[in-house]
Symmetry: C2
Subunit: 149 residues, 2 copies
Amino acid sequence: MRFGSFMDRALEEARGAGARGEVPVGAVLVGREGDVIAAAGNRTREQSDPTAHAEMLVIRAAAKRLGSERLTGCDLYVTLEPCAMCAAAIAAARIGRLYYGAADPKSGGVAHGARVFSHPQAHHVPEVYDGIGAGEAADLLRAFFADRR
Amino acid sequence: MRFGSFMDRALEEARGAGARGEVPVGAVLVGREGDVIAAAGNRTREQSDPTAHAEMLVIRAAAKRLGSERLTGCDLYVTLEPCAMCAAAIAAARIGRLYYGAADPKSGGVAHGARVFSHPQAHHVPEVYDGIGAGEAADLLRAFFADRR
């Protein structure tokens, strides 16, 4: 299935992030034609930037590449439930569909905590599909944090 | 009062953003010694970046300047209530105090909507002071949107 291969690419980015010592989360931004516009893993440590989550990096890269602050009709694949920051950026960018892997009860902002898309103020709400590649995404995170303890 | 002059600086940045055709919101990031580390107005249009809110720009610039993804003990002054994206970035950056001007019932994520700091999941909650320079901040926004109608 198509969405499976995009999530595979996101998982690759997550592994790359882990290898760099970053929390292993990866994201892929797919354009209206089904083309990968941007792919990234977390780089908060490397860039000394608390906003450099994988989702933010692909949104920024794709918006720059398309020359528009709106990514209407584009899809985002990410290995972990986005936090509130990333969820709100997804809404601001008018992303059409959000596919994510593992749930994040601790820091997620879609199905947990701030539940950014679940308020009357939400200007734009993407279609949300969760659980895709969740097992592998969660394993990567578990192994990463186990190594650090 | 000290916080008044930092908010004046944020209002200056907001006016500058409006003059560039951006939504007139400005922010200032103040370090532990009371020094301005970064100041910015919105640049979402200019940079084709939906994440380029004033708050995000000063957080990113300050984190880069200090070489750390955490801005512990720093204060953020912004002319408008932060949205959910910016509020979550403020938490991620461990900013100590948030001073904001006008309330934003439509897009705010602190006292409205997602109320990012009001969930058990919030890892870090800054002290929040609202209403500082609110009249001038709101006037700037009203004039900007009136011109566009």
